[in-house]
Amino acid sequence: MESPAPTTRASSPPPAAGWSLPGIGLLKGMAVTAVNMIQSYYRKDRMTTVQYPEERAPISPNFRNFPFLVYDGDNMAGLRCTACSICEKECPPQCIYIVLDRDENGKSLKRPKVFDIDVSVCMNCGICAEVCPFDSIYMDGQYELATGDRFGGLLFNKETLARSTDYHAQLRPLEAAEVAARRKAEEEKKLAAQAAKVAKAKLEKEQKELKAKEEQEKGTGA
């Protein structure tokens, strides 16, 4: 149960000599600031200021700020979102509001009628993008959203949120390519499965017909 007592080893990490003059520390410090002051005129690592509106520091493509919705094709009709409400439930600050669109018979159209995100509440956690099973919500890097209109300007509806797949590909090339490849594979798999199903059905039908024919032939034969 006992662990050995910690072994201590004496050493004096600030390698100061035994005798120091008062004021040396101050002068050393002043030397540091002087070096920084002078070098700031010609060394890049001593002048790190990026003059924001004109210059911009590179921002990683992984940077996430607020979510956006992806649509396939050219317009909102291709919105991938199926209004399944998983993100709405998982969103830690509950800033997503989704209403499922239904036709006149009350049947689900698998698309959102309302999809609002209150970016004045959103905490940029990215959990919505993580849990979405339909690859439809991703995190945007856009951050210049300051506004004087607190109520109108910060409640994003689905038109404001929608972005094309191209936008996604431009923003996060790696992620978008991966998603596109996976979706394509799934699509192909689905198509293949469908084709296989059709083929199988066809085969079965043919076999059935064949059987029926045989039986008929048998019947006629008998």
Partner: protein, 386 residues
């Protein structure tokens, strides 16, 4: 009642010296005060400029984290932990993930453990350099040290942004691993940073540790005997500055800390100067850990494939897990009743409990010392009030 030998004179009211009430000046430092590191408040009674009583007032940033966490799923609390100690979100992530892993018995793949160590130690670099900057700022040094600290911090934040997608609020760790793998070339960039960091440390040490004004301000200020510190629940660099060799990374190695060779720096007196120096020395040790971890970084999975993201439920039970955060012992105490939400979610915040002995440290000193002592405790209000 059993007497506590570590009780402060103020807690035992009989021993307060008789003072003429008219001579005393009641000052409320905070909640909006330049050097209370946020919205901390202290009701100070001064005799001249000497502190005769100091009562901290908390709660100005009480954001009900624990209550909110009981109402959301286990995973949804992860981004909230970022906002506890907002200077070092990744260690908070780790502490919480570790508690849930303990609660649910989830294994963590080796690569993920390495990623956790690397991010946690980078976080320690951020915290300790920023501490030094803020500490100097409390002494009225016009932010030069802070500027240098933040200059280096920005480099680490760029790494974090690439890895986790956010500068501060990383939300990176998941139960059983991390959210995503290291991007291509990230480890090389981190290595470069780690190799260049000592140069900056030399510069910062030249600027600070020999400064006679700083020495005069910090030496023999705020020291307490180590037994009192342990009894008061003080942890982290503050405890080690007094010479107690207690670092959870060594005492109870979590993650894979037992694989690395590193040392725990210890002070002797435990005054504010030692507290600062211990942080300088810990920075060097963190760099040693980082070098080893980046060298040994194995290939493999970054998250346990068995762990679920959606609809995660922990088995009935409770768990208390803690890590050595940059500010001290950060613990999470979780009770699960088997549902998707924790039944009880409690944080053991190092900043909050390290303030227990604030009054003891400040009594009889100057108002200016109070500011330094508070700075040397290294608090973050998000964690103090939660």
């Amino acid at each position: 009642m059993i007497s506590n030998p570590f009780m402060s004179p103020a807690a035992a009211p009989a021993s307060v010296p008789e003072l003429d009430e008219d001579q005393l000046l009641h000052v409320s430092l905070g909640p909006q005060h330049p050097s209370t590191h946020g919205v901390f408040r202290m009701n100070v009674v001064l005799d001249g400029e000497t502190v005769v009583s100091l009562k901290p007032v908390f709660g100005y940033l009480h954001r009900n984290h624990e209550k909110i966490a009981e109402g959301v799923t286990f995973l949804s609390s992860m981004p909230f932990t970022d906002r506890l100690d907002y200077i070092c979100p990744l260690t908070n992530n780790w502490a919480y993930a570790q508690a849930v892993e303990k609660l649910a018995g989830i294994e963590v793949p080796e690569r993920a453990e390495y990623m956790r160590v690397i991010t946690a130690e980078l976080t320690r670099l951020i915290n300790h350099t920023a501490f030094v900057g803020f500490f100097l700022g409390d002494m009225g040094a016009w932010g030069t040290a802070l500027m240098y600290a933040f200059r280096e911090r920005e480099k680490i934040l760029d790494l974090f942004e690439e890895l986790t997608g956010a500068r501060m609020m990383s939300n990176f760790m998941r139960f059983g691993g991390c959210r995503n793998d290291l991007p291509a070339g990230w480890a090389a960039k981190a290595s470069t940073l780690v190799n260049e960091f000592p140069r900056f440390l030399d510069e910062l040490e030249n600027l600070i540790i020999g400064n006679e004004v700083l020495i005069a301000r910090t030496q023999n200020v705020g020291a307490l005997p180590k037994e009192a510190l342990i009894n008061g629940g003080i942890t982290g660099p503050m405890l080690r500055a007094a010479g107690v060799a207690y670092d959870i990374r060594k005492a109870e190695p979590y993650g894979i800390y037992d694989r690395f060779k590193f040392r725990i720096p210890l002070g002797t007196t435990g005054d504010c100067y030692d507290r600062m120096m211990i942080r300088f020395l810990e920075l060097r040790e963190s760099l040693a850990i980082l070098r080893q971890a980046l060298d040994q970084l194995p290939e493999g999975q970054f998250i346990n494939p068995k762990s679920k993201i959606r609809n995660f439920k922990a088995p009935v039970g409770e768990a208390y897990a803690r890590i050595e955060g940059p500010k001290g012992e950060l613990g999470f105490y979780l009770i699960s009743d088997g549902s998707t939400n924790p039944f009880r979610y409690r944080i053991r915040p190092p900043s909050f409990i390290n303030l227990t002995l604030l009054e003891d440290m400040c009594l009889g000193l100057d108002l200016a010392d109070v500011v330094i002592i508070l700075g040397s405790v290294d608090i973050v209000l998000g964690e103090v009030d939660r």
